[in-house]
């Protein structure tokens, strides 16, 4: 089920109403959330529920077994079993065909007349997210960071909590599981906060991202005929689309969780205001990056094994992060490009702008704007790999971007994009930037609007009307495919 669907408009109030009717009955509430979460997922494809149940059951059992076992070797075996099983399922459904396809390409180029068969499975939505979530549980139990739970409903609920099930934020057991165990009390302020965050997320998704998507599809679909400036615009628009889409989803997820008395982790923190790549990666997809930091980067040695090893570790994390996004060479290249940005910045820059919090500035200085623009366009260009179907198309996109001959280089409009569309998207982007700048120290863009009630109400009304207009209900979120 999509957040931006008519079905969800009915689903959420029904679950919300039933949930708070069970106030005081924590187990009943947890069971309801579990059933609601499974219904939410089954609405997309009920067959893949078995994967979530299997994964949850396995880690629930392994978590308890690791805790009971004293022998180190056996504990390691149990952890290995969990990792292999979870990553194995992910590998079969997400990466198997990629490896087989790459091997077949290799055989073909070597002239070997041999071809391996592909599985061609349907990709289960959200598998990368809930796999990482449940995997972190067994690793944390193994490391002694948390105690395993005996409450099977709470654990299954933690793995499949519907607001963040299919596209995060990726929660850690130590943060979310205790919330299932503790009694929840309805708080007016918290619920209003949740509604505002849902509205803001919906605005970013259906107004900003979905409109940007139309432009992006046009430009990437006709890049051979587009002017260089339009191609740069297209790459920037894709960055804006991904941000609006994914951070919008996260805001709706966090806001929804608040309605049920849960607090989820912040996933995006105004990444467009990043003044360096390091700062950007601290503001973008925070829960995934911290996951890789804790379970990949630190175990590899982090920055404690010398400068060169530190840079290698960073590069490894970026490549894995790229590969996590999808089984394609384009994602790996995207990871490598971003690793390069990061490593080069680490090597050449002694400036540490991001050490001065943005909240210290009422308005951005010209220097900051320049730095932000530099980071923005660099990331946008790297996303050309992310968006392109293959490496050749991405490279052609760059070639066209430098081809100033025979094209009206500074022409923004074209047959496939009207200037009205561009004007609209720029207005929506300005709205997002203004609200996010005003709330740069807060969780989301609508937290602080004005002390005047009328201004607040008019803002909500305006955003709601825009959401009602663009709420078409069948534009899936970009990150569902990961």
């Amino acid at each position: 089920m999509l957040f931006n669907s008519i079905e969800y408009l009915f689903f959420l109030p029904i679950v919300f109403g039933l949930y708070w009717l069970l106030a005081g009955n924590r187990k009943g509430q947890n069971l309801l959330l579990l059933l609601a979460s499974y219904s939410f997922y089954a609405y997309w494809d009920y067959r893949f529920l078995s994967l979530i149940i299997l994964s949850s059951g396995l880690d629930f059992y392994i978590g308890k077994s690791i805790h009971k076992t004293v022998e180190i070797n056996k504990r390691k075996q149990l952890l290995t079993l969990s990792v292999v099983a979870n990553i194995g399922v992910l590998a079969i459904f997400k990466y198997f065909d990629f490896f087989i396809g790459s091997a077949n390409d290799l055989f073909h180029s070597l002239g070997v007349g041999f071809e391996l068969g592909l599985l061609e499975f349907i990709f289960p939505v959200g598998i990368s997210f809930y796999t990482f979530q449940t995997l972190s549980y067994t690793i944390d139990v193994y490391c002694g960071k948390i105690e395993p739970t005996d409450d099977v409903i709470s654990f299954f609920g933690f793995v499949s909590f519907f607001p963040q099930l299919v596209a995060g934020p990726i929660e850690r057991a130590k943060d979310l599981l205790p919330q299932f165990k503790n009694p929840r009390k309805f708080e007016y302020g918290n619920a209003v906060h949740g509604m505002r965050q849902i509205l803001w997320g919906m605005f970013k998704k259906v107004v900003l991202a979905d409109n940007a998507a139309v432009i992006v599809d046009s430009i990437f679909g006709n890049y051979e005929d587009a002017s260089p400036i339009l191609l740069l615009f297209g790459a920037s628009m894709f960055f804006i689309q991904v941000y609006g889409d994914f951070s919008g989803y996260s805001d709706i997820a966090i806001g929804t969780a608040r309605l049920f008395g849960f607090k989820l982790s912040v996933n995006f923190s105004s990444p467009f205001f990043s003044r360096s790549f390091r700062e950007f990666w601290r503001r973008w997809h925070i829960t995934l990056n911290t996951w890789f930091r804790d379970y990949v980067y630190f175990p590899l040695g982090g920055n404690r094994k010398g400068h060169t090893r530190h840079l290698i570790n960073i590069a490894v994390v970026f490549v894995i992060c790229g590969f996590w996004h999808g089984p394609a060479w384009t994602f790996i290249i995207w990871g490598i490009v971003n690793a390069a940005y990061f490593v080069i910045e680490q090597r050449v820059s002694s400036l540490k702008h991001d050490e001065v919090p943005l909240t210290e500035f009422r308005y951005p200085t010209p220097g900051m704007v320049f730095q932000m623009a530099l980071v923005f366009f660099s990331i946008a260009l790297s996303l050309v790999f992310f968006r392109s179907p293959d490496i050749a198309s991405a490279l052609n996109y760059f070639v066209e971007m430098t081809d100033f001959q025979g094209k009206n280089s500074f022409r923004i409009g074209s047959e496939w994009i009207s200037e009205l569309q561009i004007r609209e998207i720029v207005i929506y982007l300005i709205i997002v930037l203004v609200f996010e700048w005003r709330n740069k120290g807060n969780d989301f863009g609508l937290k602080r609007i004005s002390r005047f009630r009328l201004v607040r109400m008019m803002t909500y009304l305006m955003l709601t009307l825009l959401c009602v207009h663009y709420f078409y209900g069948d534009n899936a979120f970009v990150y569902f495919q990961f």
Binding site: L9, F186, L461, T464, L465, V468, Y470, F471, G473
Partner: protein
Amino acid sequence: MKKFVLHTVGFAIGVLLLLHVLKLTLPYYWANEEMCDKMELFVSDQEGFDLVYFGPSAVKREFIPKVFDQGLRKAQIRSFNFGTAGVYYAEQSYLIRHAIIDSAFTNVQYVLSFGQEPKELMDVNFHKLRMKYCLDWANYALHLNYFWEKKDYQQLYRYTIMFIENQLFIGEVFDMVEWHFSDFSIPIELREKSGYVPYEWSVAQSKKSSNQRDKFLAKHEGKTYMAGSRQKPSKKKSKKPQSGLEQILIEDIGRLQSFANSNGIKFATVFKPNMIDYNNVDSLNSIYFGDGTSYQEYFEIENRWDHKHLNEKGSIVHTKNLAKLFEQEFIGKRKKSKKNTKKKKGKKSKDDKSRKRKKKSKGKTKKSKSKKAS
């Protein structure tokens, strides 16, 4: 908790009320731009029309009011073409229902409706404004029943989603505001044609419509007859229909017909010859061309624009035929009834004239400015 629910529901109701008020400022046909144009023309006419014909492009492109009026010279009928591209059953019946009670239609004595079946909502038209603005409760209930009978659950789902979207004004906000700033006016060269828009004219204005024409000609190059488009005549003249109209639909058309009759308007459904055999529509007032065997000229290449539409030459043939059948169905009956009541034969009886309520022109159709400008 109560406070939260009250505030949230209050806000939602406030937004919906605001949008509802905004929608009340629009005419019932607001989402159909062509209809807006035609309504401008219709209202601006000083003499008024006796007959209107609603339907999709098959009406817009093939019904020539002047030819029709000439065919019915004795009855002195003035007709108007309300055909607009892409009108499907739900929109058509919605437009007719509202038109009957519209003050601008007080002079109208006859309403013709194009015979067609409810449309399946495909991916390409799912969520489209034109497909949902006309989904009121009556239309929604009809489509639910219709697709339930057909066991087409995907259509049930889609129509439900579209109905809810329409009730919640989803995807309509900008269009509702924009309507007030739009200028609707039919091109001057078409004003004389009383709503008829030949393909020949459209192609001269824009090349958009020429693609389908080119494809059609390429497919039928060198042929004189559009093979396979007309149903083959059955050897036995069986009364059993090959494929009749769904009973649910017949009942719905019957209700619309009764509604028109109760408002003093005669209503008929026109079943064109190149459609499937609808010979189970006896209970309806209909102008039924049959399965097309008697109208072979409709399938001559020289009379066709493309696979679905006639060209101007073919349209003249079709309109003349329509006028004849209309005369048999309505005018003949009227004469008979006049004879029975021993009324004098004249241009129009006093009763007929008195039945014409005073035209409240320019009532609900705003936009007189644009009309003057054009």
